[in-house]
């Protein structure tokens, strides 16, 4: 059986043109998807049933036992942390927010360690963004700043920016220019028209220099700015000014380097500066397929995009205080529910030391680095493969993922709803 127009649940591109060939409830071939998506669709070695840590061994348990364990853990905790959420669908995230409110916990999503600073900057100066379709059809200049889409979003160039035929561009592939700004010559840089190599941590200075050039204060620029020659900066600025429609895409290379959200603020201000001459937009290259969705869901349910603390009964948001890394580092929380992410692979050592001390329940179909820290891991259906759900693309467009396989695994939403029901029942009693 071939499922057409499946949605790839890997990166923020959410390619919705995948053809999946299914045989005997297994995916045998994936067409149109990139390497990352193919591997996810073809994924093997899923867990069979929930597991419980028993001393230094694992014990298979039933779903009921596992859900009961998680509910008990959250109810008995003083300050539970509900972390992750970017690898699951929006409906499950809804349940998660309700759950956090119920147990007066902290709900945080992975954007606190990826594009959190971008969101802070957007809160300060706004977001001159647009959908990918606009970029595809209009943009004749695309800038990738501190991101390497060939590795992280492989089809971004071929579907939306570099190669796709634009409605308003006659020879889109020839007319489009791609500029890559990075600290090293990445694969994307090797096919870019212009590669600006900056010294690590020099993003802010380069952005400020570009702003100065766009404002016409070229004579104030020194000979090199963070390792970039003045002539090149002037050339880049002229390319930007002469473009009819430009799009800036930035990745963690800009967000998570020195300057953090101030970098993004500067970039957004450069874009608004450029918009006086031409049309420019800026967008983040979101990593997980639904990390944008977790921000969306949190925002329309609580008012804040990430790091929401319900310990006072109302939503409280203070990045640096209510975000997962800080709570773990301060050894505040005493239980953690992790859904659809792998903090053990990314968090600092200090946080993980605390994570090892507290009870942890993880919802994830595969064993991963966090499994080693878990007391219980509940395998769930993978959104987009054997579960349906809504995900938000990197430009904020909601896309309904499709189910291509039918398995017995419950979806995130089902597991969480059961947990939530148990907890409500217990509290009402």
């Amino acid at each position: 059986m071939i499922v057409k127009d499946a949605v790839c649940p890997f990166c923020g591109c959410l390619c919705d043109d995948i053809e999946v060939e299914v045989e005997d409830d297994r995916v045998v071939a994936v067409t149109n998807a990139c390497e990352l998506g193919t591997t996810k669709f073809m994924g093997e070695k899923r867990m069979k049933s929930p597991i419980l840590r028993d001393g230094d061994r694992w014990k298979d348990i039933t779903y009921d036992e596992a859900v009961q364990y998680a509910a008990d853990m959250l109810l008995s905790a003083e300050r539970p942390l509900l972390y992750g959420w970017s690898g699951t669908h929006g409906e499950a995230q809804c349940v998660g927010v309700h759950m956090a409110e119920l147990v007066r916990g902290v709900i945080d999503n992975t954007s606190s360690v990826c594009h959190g600073p971008s969101i802070l900057a957007i809160q300060e100066v706004g977001h001159p963004g647009c959908t990918l379709g606009v970029v595809k059809n209009r943009a004749d200049l695309v800038i990738y700043w501190g991101s390497n889409p060939i590795d992280a979003h492989p089809r971004h160039l071929s579907r939306y920016t570099r190669y796709a035929e634009g409605f308003f561009l006659e020879n889109a592939f020839r007319d489009r220019k791609v500029i890559v700004v990075d600290v090293r010559k990445t694969e994307t840089a090797s096919i870019a028209d212009e590669f600006v190599r900056i010294k690590p941590g020099g993003d802010y200075a380069v952005l400020s220099a570009l702003r100065a050039i766009v404002q016409g204060k070229t004579d104030t620029i020194p000979r090199t700015v963070a390792g970039v020659a003045r002539e090149q900066l002037i050339r880049v600025a002229n390319l930007c000014k002469s473009a009819k429609f430009g799009a800036v895409y930035f990745g963690l290379g800009l967000t998570m380097t020195r300057g953090k959200y101030k970098n993004i603020r500067n970039a957004i201000e450069l874009v608004s500066e450029l918009s006086r001459h031409t049309k420019f937009t800026i967008s983040a290259m979101r990593g997980h397929y639904n990390v944008y969705g977790s921000n969306e869901v949190n925002t329309w349910m609580t008012g804040y995009p990430f790091g929401i603390d319900y310990s006072r009964g109302i939503a409280f948001y203070n990045p640096g205080e209510t975000t997962a890394v800080d709570i773990l580092a301060r050894k505040e929380c005493d239980a953690a529910l992790i859904v659809g992410s792998d903090p053990a692979a990314h968090f600092p050592r200090k946080c993980l030391e605390h994570l090892a001390d507290i009870p942890v329940v993880q919802l994830d179909p595969y064993p991963n680095a966090t499994t080693a820290f878990c007391n219980v891991q509940i395998p769930v259906a993978v959104t987009g493969i054997d579960a349906e759900g809504t995900a938000y693309r990197m430009d904020g467009v909601p896309i309904r993922t499709r189910k291509v396989l039918s398995t017995d695994y419950p979806s995130d939403r089902e597991v969480l709803s059961r947990m939530y029901a148990l907890m409500r029942e217990a509290l009402e009693r």
Binding site: D17, E19, E21, A29, V30, T31, N32, A33, C34, E35, T38, M42, I150, D151, P154, R155, L157, S158, R159, Y160, R162, Y163, A164, E165, E170, N171, F173, R174, E187, T188, S190, I191
Partner: protein, 203 residues
Amino acid sequence: MRSIVYYLREFFRPEWVRKFFFAKTAPLVAPSYFKDYPSLTGKECTQCLTCMMICPAPGAIAVLHKKGGWEPEIYPGHCIRCGLCVEACPEGVLSSGRILDVTSRDRTAFSSWYRLQVDDTLCMRCGNCCVSCPVNREVDPQLAGTGTSASDEVIMRIEGGRVTILHEEKCTGCKTCENNCPNRAIRVARMVEGIQGEEEAEA
């Protein structure tokens, strides 16, 4: 003394004296047989991309969609004026110097074959090659627009988790895919042969 005599003899040659008084440098023009930048002859371009295929300089020629059809465009600053595109074009769209006259008289031409190879261990399946391929774009407009291909008529598409080459014979060898592959995974082998037809009977 001998050298003075020598120089006097040298400078009082009538030829030299004439030259000295009636000096005339040649006008700054290029001769007609000079291979200048190829110019359009006005014949219709069929977008076979043979010119792009044979061009040895990067970024020197592109077949662009202009109003009223396809048209090759030469980029000075990249073009090295080798004249291979003029010689290779089967339609005679381009002209440079007297290459067209000479080749049509001698019946010389180039024939070519292409082979595509994909290294699956390097390939990221990003689809850059499939979408940038000018033949694919022509065959399947949906692919050009959205990066999605459902057609089996394209040269290559991502099928079954790898870049599958469906119609190698359609390849025109322009190497656009190779140049736009960030990982150097796809390679085009062009085999070109210079041939000459049978001499026309002396007429």
